[in-house]
Symmetry: C2
């Protein structure tokens, strides 16, 4: 089995920083009047997004999920102590009297709050929405401070690993559907991570802090992560080195079997539970036909505090340019895991609702798809207009307005120029530049004869049809194209 | 022409306060862990919203609009002094270092900022997004602090009133399409409002403040508005009374003609310009076939500072219960107007881009549709699942997983229970309660014979079909239903 060594990670980090544009780039050189680290989404962006989100949401619906939404801000106390080291990145609202509020940081904590507040014990839902994080614009790689998340979660007490396996199936369906190229889903379990820490001699009080460090392995080299653990977090060097041995291990179900025999891990009850679940998970993944996409990876830690069981992260693999090269990791595009304790934190009696879920990294996917379209020179239409209403003569505004009303009222997407007397060439140019396929033309002659000319923008062919047949004729042409 | 007197307004205010639920109502009686004045959107809400937004967006696209999005927050200075008296309702972000930010208050100011920043001189765009206002939960009627807006705007220098008329056409198409009952669109012009103020003797320094008061006429009785103008804003009582005469006038194009002859208004250049444009507007509205839906209404003022020309507001009319009763106004569901100066405020050289647009009050529409469904006892499905995978026997999890994979991979929306050994009755109950139309059943016998049973949940009929024909058979049944 091919080992993803430490060098490709560094190579990937370099690649990623090229791939993703800096968050504050001004594309226009115009007035500086926008908040740092945010950006507007132009019509071009929106078209790409709409297509990708449609695919993601239709997959969520295929798996029986309901839609849901929560407010952009939550009581600050709801969000506090849920995100580990990243909690400092939360946007707080100004105290203008009343409650202390913060912008939501992800969609998972609001979902858990919703379940507890409404005493919901079972729910399969998806949620597409914006979240906000005060990432420093200078250190982040292509992360905006406002971004979209697409989450799918299954809440409820069920038999082990069935919902967890479905989450991985969904990630595979979405990544295959988007045709982003080859991908791999790394899987681990928080209980294995903690068991590994215990087995290596990490004091329990440092578990979450060391977990945060390990989580950086996809952005930092091992030696830097090791330095952080030893110098900043006070871990003994030999303990760090023991962890270093584990985090290089990854493979299929055979690695799970191997870890069952590991002299240190096999002594740890938690780790054994995690390994048992992973074994069952791989069984279901095989039935789903996706086992070959999954890699048990001991370097996967996931930084968030709330995970309690299986965790996973999907990465795209760049096809090697030369034979024999290892596949290159170009970044995480989906992730998730099990969080069985989070809902209980919001319930006054601590009643737990086990949950497992996933989040699609749509922002990175948007960017990859946009870049690919740019490379291929693909243009997107930003409107859906089907018919343009034109005239070759002056003083035909009234006739154009009557004509376009007929089209709109028949549900046809139609435009005209907002001018009393536009030139015919200007009107035809507009159709060509915006990709409108059909033009209907009315002038003196047409009016006299009770006809309308229909022109195909692509072929420039024109035919005259009876005015009363206009809508039917256009609908026929549109259904044929 | 029927005059909407002052009493129906008060009656309407009372009705509205019943119609719309208070923003802090806890529907569950559960833990208080949500920010005041906000609410979660349940799957039921989301289904209704999705249908309404689809209709609204498809109308915007029918008129050739492009999609766009801007960040949730803007630099505070961008939003300052754009909203008149309501500016105090803005949510500010906490100063955590860096820029001072505020949550967006509407979608119009961010659009104007976008145009100026990107030097866009011409654009027809729609924008669906959340906005935030710190309304006091005790005084507002059914307003949440977070709500959705659906805006359509046309930016650019065009011949007069053509884009303005299209905005009104769009409002009519959407309100008709949503089948909310009869409606009326009140139209006025800021230049007529200002001209009226000047003609009545309002000092120019008080124009915007008095405009804000007039804007409250749809929520307050004239005598209270008059009191506010005189006691709080220092207007001479006789000036207020002169205004009182005008704001009772409303009617069709004939009222425009009448106002041209008005001894006071006809002396005011601004007012004459506004009246001239309204006359032209009515001409186009007639060609669009919507003139009978439009009422020139001198009480319409619109509170926002940025309007410069035509303004409009759509209200639903409740069908009178008794013959001869006047139609009853049940609240504004769409509004907009022309704002020719806003973009120039963000341009360093003050270059203007004339704009006209509209905003659909979707929150009120969501609520009306939800209430109507409740009254009719209509239930909505919150999932779209087409097929449920069931088994009557124990130990059939593996077969179910294989089966559901086939369905998912064929694009069929499918669910199963996350249990190793669920009871058949439980499985069938699940289908009935969630509205899943088809069940596929696999058990020992089916496995032996190489068949699958398909059951129609409604008719309870079951047929056995060959396993290899499963997907085709299901697709056939789904396309027929």
């Amino acid at each position: 089995m091919p080992l993803l060594g430490l060098l490709p990670r560094r190579a990937w980090a370099a690649l990623l920083s090229q791939l993703v544009r800096p968050p504050c780039a001004s594309r226009t050189g115009a007035v500086r009047c926008q908040s740092q680290g945010t950006r507007d989404l132009s019509p071009q962006h929106m078209v790409v997004r709409e297509k990708i989100l449609d695919l993601v949401i239709s997959c969520f619906k295929r798996h029986g999920a309901k839609g849901m939404d929560t407010p952009a801000f939550e009581l600050k106390e709801i969000l506090t102590e849920k995100y580990g080291e990243d909690s400092g990145l939360m946007y707080d609202l100004k105290d203008q009297g009343g409650e202390l509020l913060s912008l939501r940081y992800d969609l998972t904590v609001p979902f858990a709050r919703y379940l507890a507040m409404n005493k919901v014990k079972k729910m399969k839902r998806y949620h597409v929405g914006k979240v906000w994080r005060r990432e420093s614009p200078t250190i982040v790689q292509g992360r905006y401070r406002e971004f979209c998340q697409c989450d799918f979660d299954i809440a409820g007490q069920f038999d082990p690993m069935i919902p967890d396996a479905e989450c991985l199936k969904i990630m595979c369906e979405i990544l295959s559907g988007l045709q982003l190229g080859d991908f791999l889903i790394k899987v681990n379990d928080r209980r294995i991570v903690d068991g590994m820490f215990a087995a290596c001699g990490v004091p329990e009080s440092k578990f979450r802090a060391i977990c945060s460090s390990i989580d950086k392995l996809d952005k930092m080299a091992w030696k830097d992560v090791r330095h952080e653990m030893v110098a900043k977090k006070g871990l003994a060097p030999e303990v760090a080195d023991r962890i270093g041995d584990y985090v290089q291990c990854h493979g299929g179900v055979s690695l799970v079997e191997q870890m069952f025999q590991d002299p240190r891990l096999s002594q740890n009850k938690q780790a054994l539970e995690g390994l048992g679940d992973l074994k069952l998970l791989f069984e279901y993944l095989t039935l789903f036909g996706i086992a070959e996409k999954i890699s048990f990876d001991l370097s996967l830690a996931r930084g968030l505090d709330y995970y309690t069981g299986v965790i996973y992260e999907a990465v795209l693999l760049q096809t090697p340019t030369q034979a024999g090269e290892e596949p290159l990791n170009v970044g995480s595009v989906a992730a998730g895991g099990r969080y069985d304790g989070l809902v209980g934190m919001f319930d006054p009696k601590g009643h737990k609702v086990p949950c497992v879920g996933l989040s699609i990294g749509v922002e990175r996917i948007f960017y990859i798809v946009e870049q690919r379209m740019k490379t291929k020179g693909e243009k997107v239409r930003t409107t859906e207009t089907q018919v343009f209403v034109a005239t070759p003569q002056k003083n035909f505004l009234q006739e154009r307005l009557k004509l376009i009303t007929e089209l709109w009222d028949a549900g046809i997407k139609a435009e005209m120029l907002y001018k009393n007397n536009p030139k015919l060439l200007t009107q035809l140019h507009y159709c060509e530049s915006t990709g409108i396929p059909l033009v209907v033309i009315i002038g003196e002659q047409e009016l006299k004869e009770g006809v309308i000319k229909i022109r195909s923008v692509a072929s420039r062919e024109e035919v005259a049809i009876k005015r009363e047949n206009l809508v039917a004729e256009i609908q026929k042409r549109l259904s044929e194209s």
